[in-house]
């Protein structure tokens, strides 16, 4: 008989650990700051934080003002300026306070909401509805989403075709552009893409922060393997049927983007499935568990992206000398990437999205961003900045268009009474 998988659950949040001063590492000598960031998060001076933000300021100015001058239409220029200031302010706060996750999440959630507003408005403006017709698909008008990538690989290798009703080149979100973006993000950030890029993850990140305390704490560990099971299933079925199975049957995010027009019973069943998955995994469970349940317990793209962590320079490590085994990191990790096994090995599981939540949450500063090949202790601030620059630039450039687009639509609503032109 095969041994059964351990039914260890991911740890619930423990009682609040003892006050910092009474812990044996209190005398470690690291600075603590008035905002309670703890010894691992060194607060910079304002001057140093401004200096650290300057490269971001210049890079963002270069990327956003690609045309050389501001748009003349205030409905375009105001969103551009607001987004620019918003972006720079968040990076400054990250650099100044030493905290990562809180400010990353503010941008990440805003970007996800911005995506939903922009995408749906564009669809209604161009197509008249969110529904995707057979004609749209025949004309290759379906924007290519990164979630499709794993399913396309085997068919592309064997048939030299992409099993998706989009365009290879040209148009909005064409296949080549999205794949190039994904390759760049994967090389630079690994599964960091899931916390510094994926506009769907931002929705769950937002919902997971609504409650102060989780209502559901125990989640059996075996469910954290489901994304890999889903990945295998959809890759195999997609290859055999030459159709993107996840898109057709499972993707919860069709609820807030686009979906096939309900013209048959089969499509009705598919619609019920994806709406239920959205309600359950993206809204309700994140609220109740304070975790990103779709990302951590279902998303096959996340599972696929986990493997890119193996070829990425950055990871998150645990300094065992500082760790008091309070399990706070295990309790807060949104993607269930920390457990007692991984912490005892001084690292995270392969599914770590480098969001920084555990790093910020650790009361002893035992967790830190780390560059592979370097020492774990003593370099945390430097490694963090090495990661933050590419991570934040990707987040900001990828997401600023969505935020600007949403602001434009909201201003259009305020001035004309409709989000659609």
């Amino acid at each position: 008989m095969t041994p059964s998988i351990s039914t260890d659950s991911i740890s619930p949040a423990p009682e609040d650990p003892k006050p910092y001063a009474s812990r044996k590492h209190a005398a470690s000598g690291a600075t603590s700051s008035p905002d309670g960031t703890g010894p691992g998060k060194k607060k910079r001076s304002v001057g140093k934080a401004i200096l650290a933000t300057l490269p971001i300021f210049l890079l963002m100015a270069m990327m956003l003002m690609g045309q050389g001058r501001l748009p003349t239409d205030p409905l375009r220029s105001i969103p551009l300026l607001v987004t620019f200031v918003f972006t720079i302010a968040l990076f400054f706060l990250m650099a100044w306070t030493g905290r990562t996750d809180r400010y990353r999440a503010i941008f990440f959630v805003t970007m996800a909401v911005g995506f939903v507003i922009t995408f749906i408005s564009n669809l209604v403006e161009v197509r008249g509805s969110m529904a995707l017709s057979a004609a749209n698909m025949a004309r290759g008008e379906t924007p290519f989403c990164h979630m499709v990538i794993p399913m396309t690989i085997i068919p592309a290798a064997l048939t030299r075709t992409i099993i998706f009703p989009g365009k290879i080149l040209g148009g909005f979100a064409d296949i080549s552009t999205m794949i190039v973006l994904w390759i760049g993000a994967s090389l630079a950030l690994g599964r960091g893409f899931c916390s510094w890029g994926c506009f769907f993850g931002g929705l769950e990140d937002g919902f997971s922060r609504l409650r102060k305390k989780p209502a559901i704490r125990h989640i059996p560990k075996k469910w954290t393997y489901l994304p890999y099971g889903v990945l295998i299933a959809i890759v195999v079925i997609s290859a055999l049927t030459l159709a993107p199975t996840y898109c057709e049957w499972l993707c919860p995010f069709k609820t807030v983007s686009e979906f096939a027009a309900v013209t048959s019973f089969k499509v009705l069943v598919q619609t019920i499935i994806f709406v239920s998955l959205f309600a359950g995994l993206v809204v309700v469970l994140p609220i109740l568990t304070r975790r990103r349940t779709q990302c951590g317990l279902f998303c096959p793209m996340g599972a696929f992206q986990s493997f890119t962590n193996k070829v990425n320079a950055f990871d998150v490590r645990v300094e065992k000398e500082k760790c008091t085994d309070c399990k706070r990191c295990e309790a807060v990790c949104p993607t269930f990437s920390l457990d007692s096994d991984s912490v005892s090995r001084g690292t995270t599981r392969i599914s770590c999205t480098k969001c920084g939540k555990c790093v910020d949450a650790c009361p002893n500063g035992a967790l830190s961003y780390h560059i592979k090949g370097t020492q774990v202790a003593g370099n945390s601030g430097r490694a963090r900045m090495f990661f933050l620059y590419p991570g934040f630039i990707f987040l900001a450039v990828f997401g600023s268009g969505m935020i600007q687009g949403a602001l434009y639509r909201l201003m259009l609503l305020a001035t004309t009474g409709s989000m659609i032109k």
Partner: protein
Amino acid sequence: MSGTPSTVASSAASTLGTQSAAASPTVLPLILGLLTGINICPPFLIALTKAAESGSALDSVRFFVFFFLGTAVYFLPMPLLGALRFVRTLQTVGRLAAGIIGVYYFYVGLVTFYGGLKQL
């Protein structure tokens, strides 16, 4: 037939009064082979119909010998894959994937059945 091959074989073995049959490396395959004929297996049906058509048991046996040789090719690398059974993560992932694919096949079966009913 429902249940894993070993549980089915165990219950068949206890019915036949041989408690240790399920554990035997010769009796178990024999029982499974007998049960496969009761379970609708297409290659088995082909052999049965050939036997009925030709009236020759020799033809049917020859069919099955070469069928065995054909399937044996796939079993050559299997013992190597068996080394992976010690990786518990792969066991869990495999079970979950099999569950999902099972649901998919159930759906395909339902659609095929419904399509067949419509034609009646």
